[in-house]
């Protein structure tokens, strides 16, 4: 009981302080905006919220958000699928692991902008955000899956051999959970990254709907309050992802003391 209240108090304090920090930041923002008094440098809260309001009332607002999120999720699922395939092969065979090493290195070092152009040239422009998303997310998932598999407690594997467990049981009870626990800790930061990258892909690829297309539109019209409004939306999505992370971790690691 006492421990619980204590924990709750500490959690409560954290939340209060974070909220306070947000308030101070907003206040500072407003002060600076009023002082500079030039919406191109920095719009006031009022201007931004008016923009935000207009955005939300526009038809297509939710479709824009939905499409971006959809693209992000699809990219991650595709990456996950490929990463599982290649990660497992890489775990089993050193040759495959070594074969994919330079490929990964190359993918990871290609600057975003070149990635986009190549995606546009080689594939359909509507697929560009996916391609870019997959190429950025895949190496992360691959390395984590390979890492999770390689760092599985060898002693557990010995145990499962001594007790002659089925391959199926080994996969379900040892291999998959190990991958799951590793992915649970990184999946949301990976999603955040994916989101940013997909938005960048949308900026260049300009699909009909998408946050990136919208931001580019505001930018072309030099509508700074509009850009900030979209920024706030992106930040809210990121915030939601962080909460999701907490939930995922709590659910995944119930077995930890």
């Amino acid at each position: 009981m006492k421990a619980f209240t204590l924990l709750k108090n500490k959690l409560g304090k954290n939340i209060v302080e974070v909220v306070l920090s947000c308030t101070i930041l907003l206040f500072l923002w407003e002060c600076i905006a009023l002082f500079i008094n030039n919406e191109i440098y920095i719009p006031t809260l009022g201007q931004v919220f008016k923009s935000l309001n207009n955005l939300i009332l526009e038809t297509g607002f939710f479709i824009n958000i939905f499409m971006t999120i959809k693209r992000t999720i699809v990219s991650i699922l595709i990456s996950l699928f490929i990463a599982m395939l290649i990660g497992v092969s890489g775990y089993i065979s050193r040759v495959i692991r070594n074969f994919f090493r330079p490929i990964n290195m190359i993918i990871q070092s290609v600057p975003m902008m070149i990635l986009v152009v190549l995606a546009l040239i080689w594939f359909d422009k509507d697929n560009a955000p996916y391609i870019v998303g997959v190429l950025v997310v895949f190496p992360i998932l691959y390395e984590n899956i390979l890492g999770a598999l390689s760092s599985i407690d060898k002693t557990l594997l010995e145990m499962s051999n001594v007790y002659k467990l089925d391959l199926k049981d080994k996969i379900i009870k040892i291999y998959l959970p190990s991958i799951k626990f590793r992915l649970a800790t990184i999946i949301v930061s990976t999603m955040s990254l994916g989101l940013k990258v997909v938005i960048a892909g949308e900026v260049y690829g300009q699909p009909d709907y998408g946050i990136g297309s919208m931001i580019q539109l505001e930018k072309v019209n030099f509508n700074t309050p509009g850009i900030f409004a979209w920024l706030i939306i992106v930040i809210i999505i990121s915030g939601a992802l962080e909460i999701l992370q907490k939930l995922i971790l709590r659910r995944t690691f119930i077995w930890k003391r």
Binding site: T155, L156, E158, N161, V162, Y163, L165, I174, P177, W255
Partner: protein, 225 residues
């Protein structure tokens, strides 16, 4: 007293340049607690791992326990942390018993080691002693002829150690299984074993001492170690 002996011969193992076993052989007695006593680093775990085929012998092994089922009570618990105690036990039952029987068998042994009430807990929530009991339950639940134990009581604190040793003694007296028990604690060895094999310095090339139960004597063993 009729004793069936099981011989394992041609044990050879080197790590890189370090020879641990050279043409080593050991004789176990069926349905007895066979103790292997030796200093740290003399090759006890290596020997057990060869017997249980966790590691490969360097040459071809002659083993009369080749085809027997083996349970292994590890020094660390080696329970899967993310499934409950019950599921950990059930996992090794799966290929050996019908679904309907499993629950009873699991229940029986969990009660016997005294942790039935913890069956739905995850290992990390329990103390080291409790986990080691689960480790023991898992070994007995598995329909093995051989039970291998690698210093199973080492990391348990003294107060629980006695209890768990007694639990083990009670179960093993009821069930007839061949136990290979590795330890470096002479008192444990005397308390639990039917015979004691003392492992010398590495590389262990010589045959082992064999001590009849009646001759067990701490001083004697201490001097021969």
């Amino acid at each position: 007293m009729e004793e069936i002996s099981l011989t394992i011969k041609n044990i050879n193992k080197s790590y890189n340049e370090k020879v641990v076993f050279k043409d080593f052989e050991i004789t176990l007695y069926k349905n007895k607690v066979n103790c292997i006593l030796g200093k740290s680093g003399c090759g006890k775990s290596t020997l057990l791992n060869i017997l249980s085929k966790i590691i490969k012998n360097d040459t071809e092994l002659y083993s009369e326990i080749e085809d027997m089922q083996i349970s292994y009570i590890f020094q660390e618990d080696r329970l899967i942390d993310w499934i409950t105690i019950e599921d950990n036990i059930n996992l090794v039952l799966k290929n050996n018993y019908k679904k309907s029987d499993r629950e009873n068998i699991c229940k029986k042994y969990l009660k016997e080691v005294g942790i039935y009430e913890y069956k739905e807990y995850y290992p990390q929530m329990l103390s080291g002693g409790t986990r080691q009991r689960a480790n023991i339950a898992r070994a007995f639940v598995y329909p093995s002829q051989i039970i291998i134990m690698d210093e199973p009581f080492k990391s348990i604190d003294i107060s629980s150690k006695k209890q768990i040793m007694n639990i083990f003694k009670t179960i093993i007296q009821k069930e007839k299984r061949t136990v290979i028990f590795v330890t470096h604690d002479i008192e444990e060895a005397i308390y639990l074993s039917d015979n004691i094999n003392i492992l010398g310095e590495t590389p262990t090339v010589s045959k082992l001492f064999f001590n009849d139960k009646s001759k067990f004597n701490k001083e004697l063993i201490e001097n021969s170690i």
